[in-house]
Assembly symmetry: C2
Homo-oligomer: 354 residues x 2
């Protein structure tokens, strides 16, 4: 057995027990509320955890990229939603190949995207389910109002090789009533026009435990909940002890009495900021410390507020600001229990750009 402290740094350590607790808590909540759970695998990008999410009761998974879906298909996941406007000949060919193997669904927010799907998917006996992406206030992709949603639903419905399968949103944080009104109105309009709205898919970890306030939603796609991170803790989703993923780093320099430098920079922790706390991550052993600056291979830490001082060569664990982007930086993660490494897992779905 290798202890965590013996790992070469920087290294990602994932606590299996915290993962299991986070997964169960979310699945139990979804089950109690009658909400289908469709976890977003972008946070972990691991076949092992996608499989565990399904075992615990998830109806399928969510992938953001075809390349991620291909990796998950290889290990036997058979229901995958890609909530993205997928464009271009090369991607559409790969989509078609996936559709032959499993229950695949996608989204669109424009006629151009729908036309692309219709150009490749023409079999009325096995149509591609397409959900309409709705901008309920987050200001990213999506049709802008329920009337547009109805028009696009009808457009999809008119294509023999496609099937209008419902509505999808990546919601703005904390605006549940607004989101619910938007989606309910769209659903009612579309059903009145004679098209069943099978699925209404909501997303995001921050509001997952308040998600039933979006009464129109039938499923939820949380991603970050499996590992949690400093940003989620700031949002009130559990505490630092519920963060399953940490980056193990070594103290490589102590140039002054209050400055420490770690060997985990933006290449290991990523440069995403945390809305609720200063600096580039939470150091478990020095909770008062502030990571004031990152360059690619260095984190500069202000120890002014810390009662204890480290020594050069000590190892510390950092809870990152945003865990999903950290997953994408490491080719492998270490699974641990009680401070011991129990497995090294390659992150096979990492770096899938398309």
């Amino acid at each position: 057995m290798i202890s965590i402290g013996d790992l070469d740094t920087p290294a990602v350590v994932v606590d299996r027990r915290i993962v299991e607790a986070n997964l169960r808590r979310a699945q139990n909540h979804a089950d109690r509320q009658g909400l289908k759970l469709r976890p977003h695998v972008k946070t972990h990008k691991l076949a092992l955890f996608a499989g565990r999410q399904i075992e615990l009761g998830a109806v399928g998974i969510t992938c953001q990229k075809i390349g991620e879906a291909e990796v998950m298909a290889e290990v036997g996941i058979r229901d995958i939603f890609i909530p993205y406007n997928i464009l271009g000949a090369e991607k559409l060919e790969r989509l078609l190949a996936l559709h032959r193997r499993l229950a695949l669904s996608v989204t669109a927010d424009s006629m151009a995207t729908v036309e692309g799907y219709a150009s490749r998917f023409g079999d009325p006996g096995r149509p591609l389910p397409v959900l309409v992406e709705c901008d309920t206030g987050a200001g990213r992709c999506g049709v802008q109002d329920p009337a547009e949603a109805e028009a696009l639903a009808a457009f999809i419905d008119g294509k023999p090789g496609l099937r209008f399968a419902g509505l999808m949103t990546y919601p703005p944080k904390g605006r549940m009533a607004e989101i619910d009104a938007w989606l309910s109105e769209a659903r009612d309009r579309i059903e009145k026009a004679g098209m069943p709205v099978e699925t209404i898919s909501n997303g995001g970890t921050p509001d997952f435990y308040a998600a039933t306030r979006v009464t129109a939603a039938t499923e939820h796609r949380p991603g970050t909940y499996i590992y949690s991170d400093r940003t989620q803790v700031g949002f009130g989703v559990g505490g630092i002890a519920d963060c399953a993923l940490t980056v193990l780093a070594t103290v490589v320099s102590l140039p002054t009495k209050t400055r420490m430098v770690l060997d985990a920079g933006s290449k290991a922790l990523a440069a995403d900021r945390c809305p609720s706390a200063p600096g580039h991550g939470h150091i478990v052993e020095y909770p008062e410390a502030v990571i004031t600056g990152l360059s690619e291979e260095h984190a500069v830490v202000d120890l002014s507020g810390c009662p204890e001082r480290p020594r050069i060569g000590d190892k510390v664990r950092v809870v990152p600001n945003h865990v999903c982007v950290v997953t994408n930086l490491f080719d492998g993660v270490h699974l641990a229990e009680d401070g011991e490494v129990i497995a090294r897992l390659p992150v096979r779905a990492r770096g899938r750009m398309s």
Copy 2:
């Protein structure tokens, strides 16, 4: 031949002619000034370009990680400087293996780091060259004043398997007189104490063309100069036309008249900010556009200032804020000339964490 516009997105495109011009300009400048050039390969992480840098006259290369040095050693690079405090048994073993194969040098800013080197390197017939890292104002690693530099030089000099080889700094931007005074004083003290200061290694692209104002320096380690990026342009290092690396992205959504969404998010462009310009990158085809937000797989763009409007499916090229971190996100890059792809190069030194 594949045209750039036919590539699946997001994809990294590197213009070979711009690279060549950037490399030659820098080498010519160094040659004219009598400054040794030791390019930092973190920016490209490619054997091809490391080789070209040597061909053009670089004295060797700089790597930030042992893993990068190992990749470069495999392709025949024979002079590598790792300007980092290298700690831990595993890394020291790998360092020893590299030292047997090529001219390797490292840095230290503490006795603890030097003791680590001395624990593995004990052959006075082939000592490990160690430079003292000096904090000349950047506030990262480094001894804090010339007296400390002298003390650490003497400590290195006292270890039979190590050789004090000079001074190294990662300098603060724009403070050449201050840096020069620091390094000159340290050199004079150390030489007066009887130790030759063979190399004084300065770094950074922003001030490379003003680097001779640091008269004490004998070599320079620019990295970003090979590709340049939006931050360097902001610093006055050439223009957007001198940026060799762009991220090709597809317009996947036009939800409103002024909002465009691209399929290149923080997983492709990285979240680093640019000190001199708003947003997350410069869009070549829409120079007035502002990338207002990034999520992992989406860039949200404000087109308010743009006279032209794109169509869904169009492809655009983005000059990233910080190019080195983009290199680390893609497993491969496309080398192009005159709009045609001439090679796809795997980024073999990508993701080397240790």
